[in-house]
Symmetry: C2
Subunit: 140 residues, 2 copies
DNA sequence: TCTTGATCCTCTAGTCGCTAGAGCATGTAG
DNA sequence: CTACATGCTCTAGCGACTAGAGGATCAAGA
């Protein structure tokens, strides 16, 4: 029922076929059902899970962090304290990423704007990420 | 003048010593001056550059993208058109990252909030990143 | 001054997260 | 029933580090 081949999953998620098999091998994806001829057979839930993994990776989360977030999703009935600790720590990580990206965005935007009327006066891309990051890092 | 050893640079940036040498080998950092005894001798500019590289990597930018941003910074006098194309493409990438992180942040925050009064009802972490990502991907 | 421990050097090899390819089996369309 | 796409497993390669061996150099104390 609703059996999706690995190739279709790949096309729908943008995750390459060998990568899907790799995620299975490291436990990010459950081992799927197999057809009579031993082919992997997925469902919609796996497609969503895979999309999540892909974009979380693109956002710079490590496989371990993704595993934790997925575990949270797999067992929403687990203890509040546990969820809270894990979720809060990721919240902090997410906030830091957003803050840094926003600073970088501002600076790159400034370069685009300046480029519109003449030449770029100076580039402070390094400063904006470097210093901001340093300050965030200090209070770690 | 203002000579900083690789170890100090490492401590100040949080980038490991071998990684600093690696960045030099792949051209992200210029080959620094050497002391009489062949030791690398850095200045403050390199420390800032390194901090930028580190945090850009943590934000999920590839080494090639970082190289482009650094080039922009190294030669701010280059043609407007060139800067514009590069900067705009990174702007789009940055905006996409911010949008996804914001969606994820919202959902993780909801989990923390719900956890405060009882158990977590359900986890939509996968949905929020997965679907949002899919929609962003469609219009590529 | 001598020594001892930290820091540096280069070079090689290992890890993580994929990614590509060989060699073979199975599915599907004409 | 061919032919070609798609699937399987397994091994090897790549990007971006990371750790370790083996050896030189520096800095501080006896």
């Amino acid at each position: 029922m609703n059996a999706i081949s690995i190739g279709v999953v790949s096309r729908e998620t943008g995750v390459k076929v060998p990568t899907i098999r790799y995620y299975e091998s490291v436990g990010l994806l459950p081992s799927p059902e197999r057809t009579d001829s031993n082919r992997r057979s997925y469902d919609d839930a796996t497609v969503r899970r895979l999309r999540f993994i892909r974009h979380a990776r693109e956002l710079g989360f490590e496989v371990d962090a993704i595993r934790q977030l997925l575990d949270l999703s797999d067992q929403p009935e687990r203890s509040c304290a546990e969820v809270d600790v894990i979720a809060r720590s990721h919240l902090a990580e997410i906030d830091e990423k957003i803050a840094r990206l926003t600073a970088l965005r501002f600076e790159v935007q400034r370069m685009v704007d300046e480029g519109e009327h003449g030449r770029v006066a100076q580039c402070r891309v390094i400063e904006v990420l470097g210093d901001h990051a340093a300050c965030l890092h200090e209070r770690h």
